[in-house]
Assembly symmetry: C2
Homo-oligomer: 342 residues x 2
Amino acid sequence: ALAAPALAQSQPTLNWRLASSFPKSLDTLFGTAEVFSRRVAQLTGGKLNIRVFAGGEIVPPLQVVDAVQNGTVEMGHTAPYYYFGKDPTFAFDCAVPFGMSSRQQTAWFDQGGGRDLLREFYRDYGVINFLGGNTGAQMGGWFRKEIKTLNDIKGLKMRISAFAGRVMAPLGLVPQQLAGADIYPALEKGTLDAVEWTTPYDDEKLGFYKVAPYYYAPGWWEAGAQLSFYIGIKEWEKLPDDYKFAIEAASYEAHVTMQAQYDAKNPPALARLIKNGAKMRFFSKEIMEACYKAAMTTMEEEASKNAKFKKIWEPYKRFQRDQNQWNSVSEYPMQNFMAARK
Amino acid sequence: ALAAPALAQSQPTLNWRLASSFPKSLDTLFGTAEVFSRRVAQLTGGKLNIRVFAGGEIVPPLQVVDAVQNGTVEMGHTAPYYYFGKDPTFAFDCAVPFGMSSRQQTAWFDQGGGRDLLREFYRDYGVINFLGGNTGAQMGGWFRKEIKTLNDIKGLKMRISAFAGRVMAPLGLVPQQLAGADIYPALEKGTLDAVEWTTPYDDEKLGFYKVAPYYYAPGWWEAGAQLSFYIGIKEWEKLPDDYKFAIEAASYEAHVTMQAQYDAKNPPALARLIKNGAKMRFFSKEIMEACYKAAMTTMEEEASKNAKFKKIWEPYKRFQRDQNQWNSVSEYPMQNFMAARK
C-alpha cells in the first residue's frame, strides 16, 4: 500500500489534550480514549493529534467536565454521572437507576433522540458529547456479609455511586465517600461494609474479594453505564469538516471496542474471582422491588423540581418501556433459554 | 468551519461499486451500506467513492460473494449465511442455530479472535470482511396455525433459512424455497404453512400477519444475525493506508447504526402488528429443547466432516459458553427483572 501523507498542507496541525477520568491501570476504560485518539490521527494524516492524559495528570478524575468547560483541555473522556452533584441530568448520558441496558442506551442515543436531548443539555456547560463506550451491566458490589432482606440494608455503610446512594438512603443505607486507597483497609477493619466498583475484570485488580467476599448482582444502578467524549464547543466549531468527520467516526469505533473488550475479558475474570473465594449472590426479589420503587420515586421527585431532568426523563422513560416490551419477546426469551445451557 | 479539500492531490480517485443483497425497501439493511459509503467519502475527501447498488441491480441478491470474488464489483454488503450452500462455515460471520446474541457476536468478532478466524476462511474466496451491522434476535416467523407440540412441526411446510431447515428436517419440518413474491399467495392458499423473515419492522412491510397471524418467538436460528462488508482482497491491498483506515472506521459506525435502528424501529412496529391482528406466541420448552438438541447434533456432524467449520466452531462454542455464564449473572438477571416492568 502507498504511504502518502493524507491531508493537504492547507489543513492545520492541532495538538489537543484529552483528560481521562481513569487511571492507566483500568485499561479498558483508559484505553478507549487511546483507541479513539489513534484512529483520529490516522484519519487526519496525523494532523489532529490528541494526547491522552490519565485521571489526575492534568485535572482530578472527577473534574473532567470543568476542565473542558473552562478550556484547560480541549477534550475529556469520562463517566457523565460523576457530575451528578452539579445536576443529576448528567446521568442520562451514563446510567440512571434501573435504566437502559448497553444496547438500549446506544439505540436511544443514536437513533432514539437521545443525542439531541443531551447535546442541548450540555450546551450550558460549553461541551459537545460523543459516544465513548459502555461497560455493560455492572455488578452490585462486594459485601462483607450476606444481604438477604431489606433489614440487612439498614445501617449498611457502603461506598456507592451518588445516584444509587440517594435512592437507597431512604431504605437505611449509609452511603460513604472514600478515596480509592482507603476502601480496602476500611473493608478489612469493618468500618466499611460494602463497596461497588464496576465489573469482574476491573474489580479483580482491587482485591476486594479477600475482605468482602459476597459478590452481588445485578448492579441495578448501572444496567449499562455509557461513557462519553467531551469536546469544548468552541474548539469543535473551529474544526475543519474533515476533522469533525474523523472524530464522529472514531467515536463509534471506540464505542464498539470498549463493550467488546469488557465482554471478552469479564468471563475469565469472574471465573478467577470465584476460584479465589468470591461468592456469587443475587439481590432478593424483595430488595430489588423495594429499590425499584425507591428509584422511581427519586426519579419523579427530581423531575418535579428540575426541568432539565424532566425534559430528558420523560422521553427516556417511554423509550425504555418500549425497549423492555420488545426485549421481552425477542432477546429475552432467547437469552432465557441460553442462560440454562452449560 | 473551513471546507478545505481533505486529501492531497497525490491520492487516487477511486470509483467503486458495492453490491448489496438487499432491496431499497428494507431500508435498515440497505441503508447501512449507504451510511458506510457516505462516511468513507467524507473521510477521504470524496476520493474513495463507493456507489451502493440494491440486490439484483448488478448481481442477484444471493450472489454477492461471487461478484466480489470474481471482481464484478469491488465490494458487497450481505448476510454471510446466504452462502451456506457453498460452505456452512460462512454462517459464523452471521448466525448459527442457538448462536450468540448481537452483542456477544460483536465481542467475539472484535475482541475474541473471530475476525482473524473468519478472515482466514474468507481468503479462499478472495474476500476480506468487515463488521456490517446486526439485526438483533429475530422472530421465529409467521404461522397459519398454532404450533404447540413437536407433532405440530411434522409435515409443516415452512420457508426458512437454510441452516435452520437442515436442523429441523429431522424433526419433520419440510423446508421450502420460494421467491419473495410467491410467499404471500402460497400462505394464503395454504400450500405454505409458515415463513420466517426478520424482525417486526421488516416483517410488517410484507403483510404476512394477514394470512399467517401467529407470530412466534424466539428465532433461535438467528439470535443475532450479523451482516458483513466484503472487499476483494486484491482491491483492498492496492488501497493507500488512509483509505483502509477510513473503511475500518466507517465499518464500526455502520455496525452501530444498524442495530440501533432496528432497536428504535421494532417496538412501534410490533405494537402496530399486534393492533392489526398478529398474535404473539412463544415456542414451547419441548420444542426449544428438541430444536437445540437437533442443532447441536447438526453442528457437531458438520464439524466432523468439515475442517474449516470445526476450526471456527470449537473456539466459537467456548466463547459462547463463557458469554452465557457471564450473561447469566449480569445482564440476564437485570433484564429478567426489567422485563416484568410495564
